[in-house]
């Protein structure tokens, strides 16, 4: 029942989006960045902060709901929630907000993420304590410390089993960089990336090199959701939340799916089963996709998990601009986490909305069905957004 339950279908819409500039190092605090992004999103929606009665963010978010509400004069707040698992929870903030609105718990929900991670010293792995407990005790003393090591571990096995190679990872990095070059707000908008650059780059965790890694970024992004009924009265064309889903795969652990017996059955496969079960369309009907790309292999995992190709054949989608504008499935059209900004996947949600509105800097002509997913190495989530009338 729950796998195919269509209770949320098109009942809510994203009516406002907003983001700060993205930078390696921004002067403001996370609190200031969040306030700026949320105000922009509300202005875009044509709503006053005092109309907000629901708030949703990540469990890792540093700015409290109470702080944000007080800072922006939102008044009383009647619903709030957080989603776990870092970058896996991005789309889930929208799914939760939609659920709150559809079940009458809130009328206007703001969901957001703000982050200051540009400085290396601010990265969590650089602050590992001298003694670690829990699962870390069995992982970190050997030197498996950084997220990139964990992803590279699963990636090499995936490459071994499917025949995907570094050429395919290069295709992904280069295609997404080309999209960033069309987006003046992208951190890498004026930096080309050639195949030669890719293969000349230093390795970080073999088989992954520098360009397989996202850009640690300072910035914030926010969205505003209301009911479908209310959305049609607001200034922007509504972007309906057609379907939302989450997933944890059997036995997988955060960033360590390799500890599951069936380690290549990723969280996204569970999420996909539910997303498509609740949707009116099939993967082949999607016009444009924003796929969580903190590391290039995650794009392969997600393409496969969400059914954009047959099992094990994601690499066949990447050559010859297959993931670029005019290709089989344009992905990460604003530059993604690899080349626009790494905001735990929140900028991907904004780009999914822009595509349906027709306002992307790498617009897929006539895009009506926009897919966006969160990290496929942790408990994850995904959304299917659509334009047009309800």
């Amino acid at each position: 029942m729950s796998r195919t339950h269509a209770g949320l279908k098109d009942r809510t819409a994203i009516v406002g989006i907003g983001a700060t500039d993205f930078a390696r190092s921004a002067p403001g605090s996370e609190h200031e960045l969040a306030a700026e992004a949320v105000l922009k999103a509300l202005r875009d929606a044509g709503l006053d902060p005092s109309e907000v009665d629901g708030l949703c963010s990540y469990s890792m978010e540093g700015v409290g709901e109470d702080e944000l509400a007080r800072t922006l004069g939102m008044g009383d707040i009647g619903w709030f929630a957080r989603t776990p698992a870092g970058g896996g929870g991005a789309c889930a903030t929208v799914g939760l907000a939609a659920t709150a609105i559809a079940t009458g718990q809130a009328d206007v929900v703001v969901a957001w993420r703000s982050r200051k991670r540009g400085a290396r010293a601010s990265r969590p792995w650089a602050q590992t304590p001298e003694r670690v407990g829990g699962l870390d005790a069995f992982v970190k003393p050997a030197g498996l410390i950084r997220p990139v090591d964990e992803i590279a571990m699963t990636a090499r096995r995936y490459m071994h089993e499917t025949g995907a190679t570094r050429e395919h990872l290069a295709d992904i990095a280069i295609t997404i960089r080309r999209h960033a070059q069309l987006n003046p707000k992208a951190l890498m908008s004026d930096r080309t990336l050639t195949r030669e650059d890719y293969f000349a780059a230093r390795m970080v965790s073999d088989p992954l090199c520098l360009y397989d890694n996202c850009l640690e970024t300072d910035g914030a992004a926010a969205v505003v959701l209301v009911s479908a009924e209310r959305a049609v009265d607001l200034p922007r064309p509504p972007v309906f939340v057609h379907a939302a889903a989450q997933g944890i795969s059997d036995g997988s652990l955060m960033m360590r799916p390799f500890l599951a017996e069936d380690a290549l059955r990723t969280p996204a496969q569970v999420c996909a089963d539910r997303l498509w079960g609740r949707a009116d369309i099939r993967p082949g009907d999607v016009d444009v996709a924003q796929i969580y790309d903190a590391f290039t292999p995650l794009v392969l995992f997600s393409l496969e998990a969400y059914g954009f190709c047959k099992p094990g054949e994601a690499a066949a989608l990447t050559p010859n601009g297959g993931l670029g504008l005019g290709g089989t499935l344009p992905v990460n059209t604003s530059g993604g986490s690899l080349s626009e900004a790494y905001l735990h996947g929140y900028n991907l949600i904004l780009e999914a909305v822009r595509q349906v509105r027709g306002t992307s800097t790498a617009q897929v002509e006539g895009a009506q069905w926009s897919f966006v997913c969160s990290s496929d190495a942790v408990p994850t989530s995904a959304l299917l957004l659509r334009g047009g009338t309800r």
Binding site: F138, I145, M153
Partner: protein, 147 residues
């Protein structure tokens, strides 16, 4: 080096055994299923009874990476060095993370990317990191006589 907390209530028997040069995992006190990493309940029969059981120490490489910098200072002098996930001979549900070394006291970078392959057989050894800490590491297994 980062060290494990070795006196935790759920994990102390693992580290006590490692100090003695023995690899142990939890085994369910009711159905006998072996499990690692440790946990409070058997995921198969949901029994909370368990004991710690020695395993052979034979494993194969499930996957590996070669870590280059930047990393923490105490590991940086060894980069690039390999890290592996191995599957224990006792079952596909038993995976461990560890260094792959030419011997238990070898430098972390005693092997490179070209020396390892998925599926390679390895054997456990123990590397002393502190007076109270030895961690399992993996050494390529010699082919058995007759292979």
């Amino acid at each position: 080096m980062i060290l494990p907390i070795v006196d935790g209530a759920d994990t102390a028997p693992f580290w006590d055994a490692a100090r003695e040069g023995q690899l142990v995992v939890q085994s369910c006190g009711d159905c006998g299923l072996l499990r690692f990493p440790p946990g409070p309940v058997c995921s198969h029969c949901r029994s909370a009874r368990h004991e710690w059981t020695p395993v052979s120490g034979d494993a194969v490489i499930w996957s590996f990476v070669v870590a280059h910098g930047p990393t923490l200072p105490e590991y940086a002098e060894y980069t690039p060095f390999p890290l592996a996930v191995v599957t224990l001979a006792e079952g596909p549900q038993l995976r461990m993370v560890g260094n792959v070394l030419s011997g238990q006291d070898a430098r972390l970078n005693s092997f490179g990317a070209d020396d390892l392959a998925i599926g390679d057989p390895v054997r456990v050894a123990f590397r002393k990191l502190a007076d109270d800490v030895s961690i399992p590491v993996w050494v390529p297994a010699l082919p058995a006589p007759g292979d």
